[in-house]
């Protein structure tokens, strides 16, 4: 709360002198130490601190890696491996940086879902939420640019797919595509500009983080009840030492999980193909982005049909960007005045459904869109041949081994010159692209539902204050002893 009174008192001549010129110590004490923070925050609130640490870890390791990295189509791959082999502790820096990106996204997703659940995007925190979405967008851009740098097969072909998305924009698409790549195709110039921007964007993230914290410190923290602080004295504690110690504990737990990946499974979140140097002439059989992009990748591929004059590819791109854009509009889409889902029984069900939708979309993004969702479908035999008139004819055989014998007999019975062949074709089944399409609508449906549910829902009784809700929880024996009515 920016309204809280500054309790800083300069203690000596120098700090008094400084305080009247640049009150930086006052600022630090008011905002990093004495800032009144609701006392009922749970562990989901530690992810803000975890994310700040993630950003610092990425910048520090990244700056050192950049000292050894060499952006160039002939040198990038080998220089990354040189870091792994010859730079002292280079393997550690690189594994922290590459797994750190995954940890950063894991933390940001938890942070965002926390915001969704406890209504942290609602008034008076709309700007705070929108700035958070800007940070998320910048993170995605940074991660995408960074994935190009090792110049492996997935780096190259993944970038090819993503830059190609801009080519789907009507009229100006090709120009933008060429402008981003710096030429007619991805090459040395693309790698160099991606490296330059990959170094730039984290500092832009840091700048928006400053705004994000500023926007947080004006209304103050939301809290699990969603009820605003009414009595600073009773309902808040100073950030330091109460939340510095709680955040520090959570950060160390997070680091333990981080360390398991870095030291024991450093490549499990990556893709083996990215250890093959980029080769434009060989396309990997299965191009997938990093795990944190998979839900959006699934939405991109979910649209496989043209709608009127809009081609499928453009529609997929529109839906993918809309999936991110809708987050920016969320504060104005949710019509409920009740912030926390704790008191919104209906919306709460939809929230968990939304989490499940996002996870399932991730599964779809990782899978081949033509594969069956419920295991590999059986196959039937199709005999195709041309008849005397030159028309293509197919006939199908389904069944066990005898079906093949039947098909073979039929082929042998055909006259010469019919060019007959037997092939196995998968039986129609419920494929991942079907599931992706359903989930894409479920994803957008959540935001539309929030609009209507907020208008009609009858919420549970919201506690009068943070203090009362805490009292109720910390004395469960008295709470249950007193009858509800």
């Amino acid at each position: 709360m920016s309204g809280h009174e500054s309790s800083y008192e300069p203690t000596n001549a120098f700090t008094r002198w400084l305080d009247s010129r640049l009150p930086i110590i006052r600022f630090a004490q008011d905002h990093a130490m004495n800032f009144p923070t609701p006392k009922n925050l749970n562990y989901w609130w530690t992810f803000g601190g975890i994310l700040a640490v993630c950003l610092v870890v990425q910048i520090v390791t990244g700056v050192i890696l950049a000292m050894h990295y060499s952006p160039g189509v002939d040198t990038a791959f080998a220089s990354v491996e040189r870091i792994m082999r010859d730079v002292p502790y280079g393997w550690l820096l690189r594994y922290i940086h590459s797994n750190g990106a995954s940890m950063f996204f894991l933390a940001v997703y938890i942070h965002m879902f926390r915001g969704l659940y406890y209504g942290s995007y609602k008034a008076p925190r709309e700007v705070l939420w929108v700035l958070g979405c800007v940070i998320y967008l910048l993170m995605m851009a940074t991660a995408f640019l960074g994935y190009m740098l090792p110049w492996g097969q997935m780096s190259y072909h993944g970038s090819n797919v993503i830059t190609g998305l801009f080519g789907a924009i009507p009229i100006i698409g090709d120009t933008i595509h060429t402008w981003i790549m710096g030429g007619p195709s991805i090459g040395n110039q693309t790698l160099q500009r991606f490296f330059s921007l990959h170094y730039l964007l984290p500092f832009m993230i840091a700048a928006v983080v400053v705004l994000h914290v500023w926007a947080l410190h004006v209304p103050g923290n939301n809290n699990p009840t969603g009820v605003e602080v009414q009595d600073v004295e009773k309902e808040t504690v100073p950030f330091h030492p109460y939340y510095t110690v709680k955040d520090a504990f959570a950060i160390v737990l997070f680091f333990m999980m981080f360390a398991v990946f870095v030291f024991y499974a450093p490549n499990v979140l990556g893709h083996a193909d990215n250890y093959v140097q980029a080769n434009p002439l060989v396309t990997p059989s299965h191009i997938v982005p990093e795990w944190y992009f998979l839900p959006f990748y699934a939405i991109l591929r979910a649209i496989t049909f043209d709608v009127g004059p809009i081609p499928a590819k453009l529609l997929g791109v529109i839906f993918m960007f809309a999936a991110i854009a809708v987050l920016f509009l969320l504060p104005w889409m949710d019509t409920s005045k009740v912030k926390s889902m704790r008191y919104r029984p209906v919306a709460r069900q939809f929230f968990f459904g939304f989490v499940a939708t996002c996870l399932l979309l991730g599964w779809c993004g990782a899978s081949n869109p033509d594969d069956g969702v419920f295991g590999t479908p059986g196959k039937k035999l199709v005999v195709s041949y041309t008849d005397a008139g030159g028309a293509e004819i197919t006939s199908e055989y389904d069944g066990g081994g005898e079906a093949y014998l039947d098909a073979k007999k039929f082929v042998e019975s055909l006259p010469a010159g019919t060019n007959a062949s037997i092939s196995a074709v998968a039986k129609p089944t419920f494929q991942f692209r079907h599931l992706s399409l359903i989930l894409t609508f479920a994803y957008f449906g959540y935001f539309i539902l929030l609009f209507f549910v907020g208008l009609t829902e009858s919420s549970k009784a919201v506690p009068e204050s943070i203090h009362k809700s805490v009292l109720k929880r910390s004395k469960p024996s008295t709470a249950t002893a007193i009858p509800a009515e």
């Binding site: 082999r85 504690v237 737990l253 333990m256 024991y264 968990f352 996870l359 599964w363 093949y404 196995a424």
Partner: protein
């Protein structure tokens, strides 16, 4: 509500598992019996096996496959196959020097008069590459350049187990049959091409060499490669190609039989290499194909990730440190918050 939350948590696990799932119709590469000594949280490489593996690479693989990211000095670095604590600087290790000197390389730097000489390699030099460039490698191998092996274990799903299974997974010789495509002799009628002095046009019978094609009898594949249904049919092997159930690819176009039961795997240009006794191990180990595959796969695992042992041992220290710090912070947290209801 609870069940929905459980479902969500279960889905999270499922999604992470699915992300690691590898695509492709190839046989799953199981680790060799007994597993790998370098796997697990405290796994270490078997140094004797690494040394044998280097011998297999040097005597067999290196005739086609480069390892451009490795230098001979790497062999003598801590954790390496020929590390000797008496020589902390691997460039001084006489054994490594001798191993390097076995290879004649084109010096990467010019001599005093600007020419590039051939000379024995030193520990500082990169591993000798069998071909001058990728075009030469491609031309010498029927169009398919043998991949560089520096990071091959990291670059393949299944890692060292994939290398091991691929090298030992070629079908046995007796699974192959020959089929005559054109007969041994082709009878051509008398002809006269109008030049009376040309004796070749007076021949009645022209003998041409018979053309055979190689087929793999799928029913003779070792049983662990077959699915539950007994497969029948023949796989046509194109000249210069070799079938391997662990290779990524598609066998359906070459399969004569029920296309629903085309064998797993694909084709590669490399013929089976590890023939019993092809190398003679200096430590007396019997050079069976399985032994050689095991050793070279372990060597390649080391080459792909030479700092792996150090990584794991440092990891243990880091986890212990973080664990203690977490405990300390937990008690600090409890102490600081003891008077606050929250």
């Amino acid at each position: 509500m609870k069940s929905l939350r459980l479902l969500t948590a279960g889905l999270a696990g499922l999604v992470f598992a699915a992300t690691a799932h590898a695509a492709g119709g190839a046989e799953h590469p199981h680790p060799p019996e007994g597993g790998w000594p370098f796997e697990g949280a405290i796994g270490k490489f078997d140094q004797a096996s690494l040394q044998r593996g280097y011998q297999v690479y040097h005597e067999i693989c290196s005739s086609c496959h480069s390892m451009k990211l490795l230098s001979y000095r790497n062999l003598g670095e801590p954790g390496g196959p020929f590390y000797d604590p008496a020589y902390p600087n691997p460039n001084m290790n006489p054994f490594v020097k001798a191993l390097a000197a076995q290879n004649e390389i084109l010096s990467p730097t010019p001599n005093d008069v600007g020419d590039y000489d051939f000379r024995p390699a030193t520990p500082a030099d990169r591993f000798r590459s069998p071909y001058a460039n990728v075009e030469a490698a491609r031309a010498a191998n029927g169009g398919a350049a043998p991949p560089d092996l520096s990071v091959i274990v990291k670059a393949r799903h299944g890692g060292a187990s994939y290398i091991y299974r691929l090298l030992t997974g070629f079908p046995p010789d007796d699974a192959y049959v020959q089929r005559l495509v054109t007969p041994e002799t082709i009878v051509t009628p008398y002809s006269d091409n109008g030049t009376p002095d040309d004796p070749s046009d007076d021949v009645a019978e022209v003998k041409t060499p018979a053309v055979y094609e190689t087929l793999l009898d799928v029913s003779k594949l070792p049983s662990e490669h077959g699915s539950s249904e007994h497969e029948e049919g023949f796989l046509k092997i194109n000249a210069g190609q070799h079938y391997n159930p662990y290779m990524a690819g598609d066998t359906a176009p070459n399969f004569e039989g029920d296309p629903r039961h085309a064998p797993p795997g694909g084709f590669l240009a490399m013929p089976p290499q590890l023939i019993e006794g092809r190398v003679e191990y200096t430590d007396g180990t019997k050079a069976t194909p399985e032994q050689m595959a095991y050793d070279v796969a372990q060597f390649l695992a080391w080459a792909s990730e030479p700092k792996q042992e150090h990584r794991k041992s440092l990891g243990l220290a880091v986890m212990v440190y973080l664990g203690l710090l977490a405990a300390l912070l937990w008690f600090s947290y409890k102490q600081i918050w003891r008077k606050v209801d929250h």
